[in-house]
């Protein structure tokens, strides 16, 4: 099988997995009662944190022990992307069939995304300080993270500038979808085009590719990713339930 076909198959599979995860996330966020998935989230996050600090890791120059940040920094970004996608889907559903509930769900998902984004930025900044020597570098991927947070900051500002509830819900849903479509795909493409990034990932930095192949790190990393994504859904569930209750209370 050629490299190109393999790439296409991998992209298709990850597309299907993402769509499934967004759908599943919506079901989890809307679910009521105590689900076993919350225990799974606790076990995975605590387990990956403990294992992440204890397991032997490959000793690479410069990165050294700081490689353990991989179990915290990267899963937070995965969590953010998933919960932001969930927010977009709620916004689309709102435009098709407006209801206060869908607006609240989209808003709370976006807020969870912002929280995880800030955490991802903080852990990344710390990591950059110890490996690259600066808190912030003009790296395409760091710029992308900053742009994503600015967009969601603008989303909150926009929400704050309306007095009418329905107007706010509709216009902010439109901005949510528009900003995502206009900026986010490019944020994944730009680092690949620029080709001169220190940040590991698609742009090179061959030293880091060894981590992906390291068999002891891989299970812990995947556990952390799933754990943090579930945690993001959990947070959104709790905060949206609270806001929905407040909304019903205000209505009466």
């Amino acid at each position: 099988m050629s490299k190109a076909t393999l790439g296409i198959i991998i992209s298709l599979v990850s597309l299907v997995v993402t769509v499934g995860a967004v759908w599943g996330g919506q079901r989890l966020i809307e679910s009521r009662g105590r689900g076993a998935w919350k225990w799974v989230a606790v076990v995975l996050i605590v387990g990956s944190a403990v294992a992440g600090l204890l397991i032997p890791v490959p000793r690479l120059p410069i990165v050294n022990e700081s490689i353990r940040n991989l179990f915290f920094h990267v899963p937070m970004w995965f969590g953010m992307i998933m919960v932001m996608l969930v927010s977009i889907v709620y916004s689309m559903q709102y435009l098709r069939r407006p209801s206060a509930r869908l607006d609240i769900l989209a808003h709370e998902a976006a807020k969870t995304g912002i929280l995880l984004g800030v955490l991802g930025l903080a852990t990344g900044s710390l990591w950059a300080r110890y490996t690259w020597g600066a808190w912030w570098t003009p790296d395409p991927r760091l710029n992308a993270a900053a742009v994503a947070l600015l967009i969601y900051g603008a989303y909150l500002v926009l929400r704050g500038s309306f007095r009418d509830d329905q107007q706010r819900a509709r216009v902010s849903a439109i901005y949510n979808i528009f900003a995502f479509a206009a900026a986010i795909p490019l944020l994944f493409i730009l680092p690949r085009i620029s080709g001169n990034s220190l940040h590991p990932g698609q742009t090179g930095n061959p030293g880091f590719n060894k981590y992906d192949l390291d068999s002891t790190m891989r299970p812990v990393f995947y556990a952390a990713v799933i754990g943090w994504i579930l945690f993001a859904f959990w947070l959104t569930q709790v905060s949206s339930r609270l806001t929905l209750l407040q909304h019903h209370h205000d209505d009466q």
Binding site: V147, L158, Q167, V171, I174, Y175, I177, F178, A179
Partner: protein, 232 residues
């Protein structure tokens, strides 16, 4: 209901009518157009004055960065008044006459043409005052066209959103629009730098294709979303 027998020709006719209306309005109230020209002119002149303190022409990277910053702010000012100058009654009147898709497409086209004019004027004033370090002029101009189109497609829907929020629309427009435009600006500035340095065009090819695709995505999303904005 409107007759739906020939949707496309009707849409084109509506776009043409709206476009003609916008140009006529712009020409009749020349204050806005004059303000835009003066805005670009005075910014370029301020740049000229500050660079003349240190012996004339700025270095190419500064030339490039300032050019795009001036265009960006001129674009925000130019597009901001599009939806905001219309009164709610006026808006309602248009909406009874034409469909929302025609309104957004006509506005985007009008803004693109306006911004292309502003861009060319800016380039002319810029070369007059600050020199012309461009080595690949046709690539630079093609990039300018893509930039005008990109600014127009992005900012048109954003200005519609900001107009709905009321209050200080221009600030809100900057807050909402800038983060969305940063990726586009990065690409534009990169191609523009390549044109300034006269690098091989193959180096800019990928960025230009991405810019084109981005314009299509943004215009398509605006086209799909505007009817929802209009329902308010």
């Amino acid at each position: 209901m409107r007759p739906e027998t020939h949707p496309l020709p009707v849409l084109l006719r509506e776009i043409y009518a709206l476009l003609a209306k916008d140009f006529r309005l712009e020409w009749r109230q020349r204050a806005a157009l004059g303000g835009l020209v003066l805005y670009v002119g005075s910014t370029v002149f301020v740049c000229f004055l500050s660079f003349s303190l240190r012996g004339g022409q700025p270095p190419a990277p500064a030339w490039n960065a300032l050019f795009w910053v001036i265009l960006l702010f001129a674009a925000v000012n130019a597009v901001a008044k599009g939806f905001m100058q219309e009164s709610p009654g006026q808006r309602l009147y248009y909406y009874t006459l034409v469909r929302p898709q025609a309104i957004i497409l006509a506005k985007m086209l009008y803004n693109a043409l306006l911004l292309l004019g502003v861009g060319l004027l800016g380039l002319f004033l810029y070369t007059t005052f600050l020199g012309n370090p461009i080595q690949d002029l046709s690539l630079f101009l093609a990039n300018l066209v893509l930039g005008a189109l990109g600014f127009a497609t992005t900012l048109t829907l954003v200005s519609g959103i900001a107009a709905k929020a009321g209050g200080n629309g221009a600030t809100l427009m900057a807050v909402l629009g800038f983060p969305v435009m940063i990726p586009m600006l990065l690409l534009l500035i990169k191609v523009s730098k390549n044109a300034l340095d006269g690098l091989d065009r193959g180096l800019s090819q990928q960025s230009i294709i991405t810019l084109l695709a981005l314009n299509v995505i943004v215009a398509g999303t605006s086209y799909l979303l505007y009817p929802f904005l209009w329902r308010g």
